[in-house]
């Protein structure tokens, strides 16, 4: 299992360089559409390691085709320049009746399946690249339908799943989605996320995917129990931290992940070649 860190802000540039130099991570994941105005060659050369590309605001379920074509052209430039080891995106609702959510919405996995599948097919065709879609940190009971949705989606579209382990923990705590229900999805996935979460302010508490805390005991237990299902040749796991960014805390979590999965057998060069 290769470990990576999500790079979303210029302010963490020096820290990510240090994580690479000290061997805590093997690759870096750009929140790529944050950097669409940066020369793709600069993106390729900024870090001495392989690069993954994570998309946040394609809004591919809601945007019109010309907008997606323009977005994809810039994404494609970044994919080509960085020789990205993977490209990932989100299945999310950004608006309702034209009004923006600031806490993004989960789709209706049963009622919207065909709509989402067709949009996924169209989005992959426009980008011209396989895309791995991230699972949502479900709160409501619709999250019980998520594992079957992703299993079917990948079979019918050729897309992958960027499986976020701590999002699955949130869903387990919030709506009881069993970890076992994800087994086939995890087994088929090669790219993973993991991060901290916290409880809501008011009760009854729900777990919220904040990327602001250390890994929870529940997340570490999940990874330990399913270790052999997660780990496989070519697998990557990105540690996400967007708030409360403390170098020592991040390194402590990365060391826990290294201890859990063992030293990566594939060197950085191999990761590039496997892309």
């Amino acid at each position: 299992m290769r470990l990576g860190f999500n790079f979303t802000l210029g302010s963490t540039y020096d820290m990510v360089k240090r994580l690479i130099a000290e061997g805590h991570i093997d690759y870096c994941e750009y929140l790529v559409d944050n950097f669409f105005c940066v020369d793709p060659d600069e993106l390729a050369k900024a870090f001495d390691c392989p690069i993954g590309l994570h998309v946040m605001y394609s809004r591919f379920l809601e945007a019109d085709r010309p907008t997606l074509v323009d977005f994809a052209a810039r994404l494609r430039d970044c994919i080509d320049a960085t020789n990205a080891i993977y490209v990932s995106d989100h299945i999310l609702r950004f608006t309702h009746e034209g009004r923006a959510f600031f806490h993004l919405g989960e789709v209706d996995y049963s009622g919207e399946y065909e709509f989402v599948r067709d949009k996924v097919l169209e989005w992959q065709e426009i980008v011209g690249h396989r895309i791995h879609f991230e699972n949502y940190p479900s709160i409501m009971d619709g999250g019980l339908d998520a594992p079957a949705f992703f299993e079917r989606l990948t079979k019918e579209t050729g897309a992958g799943v960027l499986f976020d382990a701590s999002n699955a923990v949130c869903a387990n705590l919030n709506c009881g989605t069993p970890f076992e229900a994800w087994r086939n999805v995890i087994a088929a996935a090669h790219h993973f996320h993991v991060a901290g979460y916290r409880n809501s302010i008011v009760e009854p508490f729900i777990a919220l995917d904040t990327h602001a805390n250390s890994l929870s005991p529940e997340t570490l237990a999940f990874l330990r129990d399913f270790r052999s299902v997660f780990d496989k040749p070519g697998a990557t796991m990105t540690y996400e931290r967007d708030q409360e960014i403390e170098f020592e805390d991040i390194v402590a979590d990365l060391k826990l992940l290294r201890n859990l999965f063992g030293e990566s057998q594939e060197r950085r060069h191999d990761l590039v070649v496997s892309a």
């Binding site: 540039y13 105005c37 309702h96 009746e97 806490h103 989960e106 619709g142």
Partner: protein, 193 residues
């Protein structure tokens, strides 16, 4: 009135309530659906007051005397809540009981315009590099720049021009910049819903 029979199994059932304090109050407070909606509303609150803390000086520390009536006003008008979010807060304040305090000190306007420019730079995925936002209440304007290097973040600048631009025809106006230079003035575009 609290209604226990509101549909609330899946997230989609709650979409209309996620930006409505009034609808939130109709859900039983001991249920997960209420917490989900409350969490969503808190993000709108923090997006406003964490970025423009000066507004708490005129609202009181919990901000609710601004937040609740503004959200109801915005819902009536079906405002999109894209990067214009802050500008609509200013528009509401301008016709609210807070108008006098608001107009007595330009720090509120500068904070609002800066927040809006920053939000554009964070969320917009078009090809423009920057945005200029002007207001009929000042000759100053604000520019937001997207990230131009992996080593830097987005930037917001306050411009105090020696020769003022013509004022926007409405309260706010904006224009986008195709390069990282302020070298054009194509005229103001109006804020849309």
């Amino acid at each position: 009135m609290i209604l226990s029979s509101l549909p609330s199994r899946i997230d989609r059932d709650l979409y209309p309530a996620l930006m409505s304090p009034e609808m939130c109050a109709k859900y039983p407070a001991d249920q997960k659906a209420f917490v989900r909606i409350d969490t969503s509303l808190r993000v709108y609150w923090h997006t406003l007051f964490d970025i423009c803390p000066e507004l708490l000086e005129i609202s009181g520390p919990d901000g609710l005397s601004i937040f609740r009536p503004f959200m109801a006003w915005a819902e009536e008008r079906k405002l999109a809540f894209d990067w214009f979010y802050y500008l609509w807060v200013y528009a509401w304040l301008r016709q609210s009981p807070f108008k006098e305090q608001l107009l007595a000190d330009q720090k509120y306007l500068r904070s609002i315009m800066g927040a809006s420019a920053a939000r554009w730079a964070i969320l917009d995925r078009g090809r423009a590099r920057g945005i200029a936002i002007g207001c009929a209440d000042t000759t100053d304007f604000v520019i937001g720049w997207k990230c131009r290097s992996v080593r830097f973040g987005r930037q917001v600048e306050l411009i105090e021009p020696e020769e003022p631009l013509p004022p926007p025809p409405e309260v706010f106006g904006y224009f986008t910049l195709p390069s990282f230079e302020l070298d054009i003035f194509p005229g103001w575009q109006g804020v849309t819903r």
